[in-house]
Symmetry: C2
DNA sequence: ATGCCAGTTTACCGATCGGTACAGAAGAGG
DNA sequence: CCTCTTCTGTACCGATCGGTAAACTGGCAT
């Protein structure tokens, strides 16, 4: 039976560009793992679902991730952390133009979360007992996001306390929009939330720095 | 095999642990079910966990909820809907003093979610594929909340479009605060979010109705 | 050609999953 | 006392869970 559908000759392409066939590196697998965890949550993402999504049998999965499901989730979190650090947090902290960095952050947010059609894996993990297994990393992710926004605001002339408060509001609003957009199946909601945040951030920057010297 | 040692009549203790007896009505069970679903999510809440939490064996659970886990979750949702409708949505729509109703809503929110130490079950359901099983009810819950807030604002003199926008922001911010408060284990965050919302709602009401005659 | 080796397949493990069957215990009413 | 109904404990079901073991594959350097 199995010999029929099982492709005997596997073209092992060293180039990992093609996502059509089974990916053969950890890096290529991670996005598929992430999507599976997003859809079903950590507990709900069974190995068979992962196997189906990735096209890899259990043996292959355990070859790449000897630690099993927990290692898979940990690696996904690492990749997410790296992405946000490189694309959002570092620019927020270092871009010479804080206002532009904040606008770029909102644009990246809209892209990453597909205008609200995709959820935040870290936020979803935070809501169940899955949190316990990754508590430090979940905490660090949100703290880094908030602090990066606050740093940009502060460099833009906003007072420290006000910057932290507005940063907290920003991250909170984004997470809330992911929840309500999913719940209401209303993609427009996410864009409206980001637009509100853009206005509010710009306003704070405008007040903070009276006139650029 | 087991016929030899199987005791035909196991005299179950009439009252061994007299302290907290198992609740014997659906209504009394629901809060325990809700808490179990909150902690583990729908998929993660196993019958054994539910059995442990409620102190009821499978036999009793299936006696009260013949439909199994899905019926349990459905009943929990019904109870939640009723609570919010009675304590928050109806007052928002009908209270002669909309400003007071909005303040009361925020206070009820703080109480219900234990200042951010408790999560929103409906929001958590919305984030995974569990959503599919309860899609209509999840959608209706958030829509009702948003529309009730908008109705209160409108009766307070806020323009229709502005009221809806602010209501959407309010519900979204509350949900986001539940996520980030859980993630950062920072209960203060929830209170700060509610305080921000109180200011913003009051401001909108203040603008909308120039001077009360 | 040979032997290594990353990668895969397949079968299997004990545990637990959600759910069912049913006998027995507990109360209520007579 | 007996009976009927309501509730509960327990054994059991097939399926699936996360995870392991080992045989096999095909490519590659020697």
């Amino acid at each position: 039976m199995g010999s029929l559908w099982a492709p005997p000759g596997r073209p092992s392409r060293p180039d990992g560009a093609g996502a059509l066939r089974a990916p053969q590196t950890r890096e290529a697998i991670l996005p598929l793992l992430a999507e599976t965890f997003r859809e079903h949550g950590y507990e709900g993402a069974s190995l068979s679902a992962i196997s189906r999504r990735t096209g890899l049998g259990k043996g292959s999965l355990y070859h790449f991730f000897p630690g099993g499901k927990e290692e898979m989730a940990a690696c996904v979190l690492t990749e997410i952390e790296a992405w946000f650090e490189a694309r959002m947090f570092r620019p927020l902290r270092e871009d010479p133009d804080p206002a532009a960095a904040l606008r770029a952050m909102l644009a990246e947010t809209d892209g990453y979360f597909r205008s609200g059609r995709r959820i935040c894996l870290v936020g979803a993990f935070a809501l169940s007992t899955t949190r316990d297994a990754f508590a430090r990393r979940i905490d660090a992710y949100f703290a880094a996001w908030r602090d990066a926004v606050a740093a940009a605001l502060a460099r833009g002339g906003v007072a420290e306390a006000r910057a932290l408060d507005l940063a907290e509001e920003t991250v909170t609003a984004i997470q809330g929009a992911l929840v309500t957009a999913s719940a209401l199946q209303d993609p427009g909601l996410f864009g409206r939330t980001l637009a509100r945040l853009a206005l509010r951030l710009a306003a704070a920057l405008g007040e903070g720095a009276g006139r650029p010297t």
